[in-house]
Subunit: 465 residues, 2 copies
């Protein structure tokens, strides 16, 4: 369908205060999904979101699940046969707000706050994910108000358990596979490159974890009576964990790098002018430590890792105790990059430990589940549409970003619905997501709405091209 | 003075039931020194012990301390000028008896129990140390009853804080240095070689501990966002702890073995027929692990160690958490052998860590205090007297044993009073010291009394030789 982008964007500008009021209404509902005390608020938020989508004329259902409700809305789009279907995902639940005393205002009474970097809205969920999901809902409202319909078929899927493990998500996707059939998927839960440069996240690392427990003596022993003559599981485990990396920071698990390639985006990243010092400062570090000869962006976006997340054994209290522990354990996770097979890596890790079993030692391995890494095809027309839409609003080329972490829903969409996700979000590094005084810049909100307005138009064009 | 050993030993036999009743009386007092709820019982036990020593005609004082009372008794001996003074040490406090439900009888209601290995008395403190200290007190009673006096001057020192850290011991020794001046010292708190072979413990390992904490990032980090690009203190610490030993199990701390010699007793130990399988079974181990080319006895008696007693860092709960810890720590103790300088080893350990400080890491070291190893001179006439006395009662050569653990009082006697200790005790490996159903074999008690009777006589002879 033909559309008038300047008119759409002007409409966003003219009604931004109304958009903001609708965001505030949602932020006032303490939809904390992890705490059963807030279960009624979570449901109230789901119903509220359903109401907003119905207001836009969408066929909306608030589905009960084993956990919190799942909101699904369908919009027929322009009514043409060739209109593609785009699935939009966001989550309406939020992290707990405690510790409350570190908030400068009530976390559930949103405040507009002036700041040298730009005015922001402060509340729990201002960014994650209520502010973000409202950018695409307000964009849809704009299209409806200006042109009477959306330029593509739309499914909106709003989850209420993202902050509490998404237990109901996969079963719901399985049982609603046909209803959720789409051509592309947009997830609005990620960040920009910086305050003025938008981004699409095209690489997400996966993860696989193993907990390895080395058992030795039958019970804790007196280190005077037995020390020197029996296996000390802590010393032995340390030696093996210490051997996981060589002097160059490379993981020594057999075949670990077999399927690891240099990403197509690598050259682009080198030109980004990434501020390593600022990144390290945010971690309280003064130097980057990792695989030799790799930049920080490679180390966190495109290289796999093997990090101990926890280690334990023997006496843990203050002072000392002259004990030889009967066992010691380490919790390890490997961050994976595209094409690494999580189960192959898990097996390699276990083999690494087994090959080094010390005399008198016996292993116990724990840990299940894994997410493979995600790579969004960079030659996809949907990605190009998103990039074009972002550039038309922000006036600068969007960055194709990687992300060191995992967003499980992306994997679920890929494995259950067969859908690649476009990760388009407007969060900033200083948004204090999951922390007190969470905020969302009004520029993120305002230009985010405009971005989704433009991207919706580009999606329609991409389908008819 | 002349004495009649057969008459003395017959007297022990004839009055063994009375001796046992006196032991039972002491065992009925729950003198648990670690638990303030038992403070009155500890004092009652001190007064009871004082009463027993006064009954023998000794000049006895129950001294108040900052903690529990110290009982000191003096006996003038035979009244001859050349009689030596022997200091006897024991402790009248006991470990807590819990868990009570694992006891087959009330821990403070001593029971005589028949057993295929020999009749025993079961109660908390039956061995450690009430049964043991009563062997020398009953031996002194025997001398008084048969010959009217002891053959040597005697000081009895009974401590009430051995099981709770001996905080008052060193200050008491310092402030009573003159009063406690002696020619030799006997400590009755160790074991026999086996049920039929007595022993004198002549080597005790010392100990020095260091807790090394490696600090990295300023706070715990998300392992997705930062993993691969910052120091992981757990991985780095493991690598360093793992480097503490080489493939031969030798400690890699600089200068660690500089002052370590082969003990004079080594050849004797090789002839002892030590039952390694039984030793390992008691630890729930099926193989001995330690310094290559060394026997179990060497590994635990005459070789120094470096054991991690605890390690910690990051997430410790069930399941996983994708965190990079800001720090990780290890609690290490080295068991020391004679001539090793504890402070030199401590400095070597710290240097070992500092030499391996990873980029982005910073150390914090904790831990104070150390006990050097103890070696009783094997050419001492007092040791020879003890060995002769033991052999005359048991009819077999006593073993010169080492001990992997430390007995701090031995170091205090050496450093404060300038006294070498003779460690003569009658405990057995299966006495369940510190555990439920603690016992002492009646053969240990009975022959223990006889042993001290004989040793007292040999001491008098040694002095006049």
């Amino acid at each position: 369908m033909n559309y008038d982008l300047p008119a759409l964007l002007s409409h966003v500008d003219a009604h931004i205060e109304d958009s903001l009021e609708r965001l505030k209404d949602i932020l006032r509902i303490p939809s904390v999904s992890t705490d059963p005390a807030f279960a009624d608020d979570v449901r109230r938020c789901a119903e509220h979101m359903g109401g907003l989508l119905r207001e836009l004329g969408m066929e909306t259902t608030v589905h009960d699940t084993e956990g919190h409700p799942m909101v699904v809305a369908h919009d027929p789009g322009p009514g043409t046969d060739d209109a593609p279907t785009i699935l939009y995902y966001g989550h309406y639940d939020v992290q707990p707000a405690d510790p409350y005393d570190l908030w400068e205002s009530d976390p559930f009474d949103p405040q507009i706050v002036d700041h040298p970097d730009g005015t922001r809205i402060v509340a729990r969920g201002a960014d994650d994910d209520k502010g973000q999901l409202m950018t695409f809902i307000e964009a849809m409202r704009t299209w409806k108000e200006v042109h009477g319909s959306l330029p593509v078929r739309v499914i909106v899927l709003l989850e209420g358990e993202e902050e509490s493990g998404s237990a109901s998500l996969d079963p719901f996707l399985e049982s609603h596979r046909d209803e959720l059939k789409a051509d592309a998927c947009v997830i609005c839960d990620t960040g920009m490159w910086n305050r003025t440069t938008p981004a699409v996240t095209t690489m997400l690392r996966g993860i696989v974890g193993v907990e390895a427990i080395l058992h030795g003596p039958g019970h804790d022993l007196h280190s005077g009576m037995y020390g020197g003559a029996v296996l000390n599981p802590i010393n032995a485990l340390s030696r093996i964990v210490g051997a996981l990396h060589d002097d160059q920071g490379r993981v020594q698990v057999e075949g670990f790098y077999d399927d690891v390639d240099e990403p197509a985006e690598l050259e682009t990243w080198q030109g980004l002018g990434f501020d390593e010092a600022a990144f390290l400062a945010s971690a309280g570090c003064d130097t980057s430590v990792g695989e030799a000869g790799r930049s920080v962006l490679e180390r966190t976006w495109s290289r796999p890792t093997c990090d101990a997340n926890g280690i334990y054994g023997g006496y843990q209290g203050a002072g000392g105790k002259t004990v030889i522990a009967s066992s010691a354990g380490v919790k390890l996770t490997c961050r994976l990059v595209p094409d690494q097979d999580a189960e192959k890596i898990r097996a390699g890790l276990i083999k690494f430990f087994e090959d080094r079993t010390p005399p008198g030692g016996r292993w116990e391995f724990l840990g299940e589940g894994a997410f493979p890494a995600i790579r969004v095809p960079t030659d996809s027309p949907w990605l190009q549409a998103a990039l074009d839409g972002l550039e038309s609003v922000w006036g600068t080329s969007p960055v194709l970003m990687g992300c060191g972490g995992s967003i499980p829903v992306v994997g679920s969409f890929q494995s259950i619905l067969g859908l690649d996700s476009l990760l388009v979000g407007f969060g900033l590094d200083d948004d204090r997501v999951h922390s007190p005084n969470e905020k969302y810049d009004l520029s993120s909100f305002h230009n985010g709405i405009k971005s989704h307005v433009a991207i919706l138009g580009r999606f329609a064009e991409a389908a008819s091209a």
